[in-house]
């Protein structure tokens, strides 16, 4: 956990890619879950944020 937070603070690709992946996965789950409409409503924003973040952070140093 400390390594992950350290990676985020120092703009390391691994940690930020992990964060972006979690956001994309959460967005897709929110989009397709059958439980709460409010989660569905916010799903696209979360997926979009994750995807844009993924594209940007894939240019960060290892």
């Amino acid at each position: 956990m400390t390594r992950f937070l350290d990676g985020l603070l120092h703009f390391r690709r691994g940690a930020w890619e992990m964060l972006a992946s979690v956001l994309i996965a959460a967005g897709v789950v929110m989009l397709m879950q059958p439980f709460a409409l409010v989660l569905y409503s916010w799903s696209f924003l979360v997926t979009l944020l994750g995807t844009v973040m993924f594209i940007i952070v894939s240019h960060f140093p290892e």
């Binding site: 996965a25 897709v28 397709m32 879950q33 569905y40 409503s41």
Partner: protein, 315 residues
């Protein structure tokens, strides 16, 4: 004195053309060769994408080309993301996607594992198994509607024969509870051979020497399966899941032919719903926003999946 083919080509090039290209750097020549592909890519992929994003912020209707087009901001996105019917189509897509992937991976890998064993008629069985994949989805959808017929359908007869139930007592494509499973069964029947072929390529790429070394170390078959077969086939399997996942997320033809999205809208997947919005209700701006949402979802999923695939390959 001309020696190489390059010299001969240079000699044969008309002087006017040679003069024009003389002095171009390697980099410029490379750009010159790649330019037609880039122009085609921009015209066919990038421009429509940018145009769709632009339309998604408008109230444009393609059946009213002369009507004034208004900028509506995020209205289309907000109405899609608060529409319960579209939410239901997302759930139908999730059901279809998850179950087809699970079944196709399990059955496809098992078949590949069996086919990989040396036995008589191996090639014949491979050909028979891959036949469904070679058929057109429209044809498959059409003949499965006959197989699912309650009175005369072979599928209902087989289920009745195995379970003792009356074949005409249930309708796979007419029942709200069964229709989602009907499309899963047909897609699995059609596309499991594809997963099987990719897994087979993976299994055949594993050198026998690794298994021989494991035999020397007295590793059991079970251990060999989990520590050699599965890790070495995993990149192939993940590739198959990526292809099938993207394909099934935008599944259209097979389901339209089979159920048309019904009964009601229980099997209406996102692509069918999108087509209705775009080409039946003619809400082009709205449908563009819908398409952008689906695109971002698939793009995001594919990105993390490709990253995971590369990690597995590096291991």
């Amino acid at each position: 004195m001309l020696h190489s083919p390059v010299d001969r080509v240079a000699e044969a090039t008309p002087h006017a053309i040679a003069k024009r290209f003389r002095g171009l750097s390697d980099r410029s020549l490379a750009w010159l060769f790649v330019a037609p592909s880039i122009v085609l890519l921009l015209a066919v992929n990038i421009f429509p994408l940018i145009w769709t994003i632009r339309l998604s912020f408008t109230n444009f209707r393609v059946n009213r080309p002369n009507a004034e087009v208004e900028f509506v901001g995020l209205k289309n996105y907000i109405s899609i993301l608060s529409d319960k019917d579209i939410w239901l189509t997302m759930q139908a897509t999730a059901h279809f996607l998850i179950w087809t992937l699970v079944l196709q991976v399990l059955i496809g890998f098992s078949l590949a594992y069996l086919i990989n064993k040396k036995f008589r008629g191996n090639d014949l069985w491979t050909t028979i198994i891959v036949l469904p994949m070679m058929l057109s989805p429209a044809v498959v959808g059409n003949f499965w509607t006959f197989l699912y017929q309650p009175q005369i359908g072979l599928f209902n007869y087989a289920i009745g024969f195995l379970t003792g139930a009356d074949p005409s007592s249930f309708s796979m494509i007419g029942d709200v509870a069964l229709a989602p499973w009907a499309i899963v069964i047909v897609d699995t029947w059609m596309w499991t051979p594809f997963v099987m072929l990719i897994c087979l390529a993976g299994l055949r790429s594993i050198p026998d020497s690794i298994y021989e070394a494991a035999e020397c170390d007295r590793a059991s078959k079970w251990r060999q399966f989990w520590t050699i077969t599965i890790p070495l086939v995993l990149p192939f399997l993940m590739l198959a899941v990526l292809f099938r996942g993207i394909e099934n997320f935008k599944m259209f033809d097979l389901v339209v032919q089979l159920t048309g999205g019904g009964p009601g809208s229980i099997t209406e997947l996102t692509s069918i719903n999108l087509k209705r919005e775009a080409f039946e209700k003619w809400r082009t701006g709205y449908a563009s926003a819908y398409a952008v949402i689906l695109f971002v979802t698939v793009f995001g999923l594919a990105s993390i999946y490709v990253k995971a695939l590369n990690k597995v390959k590096e291991r």
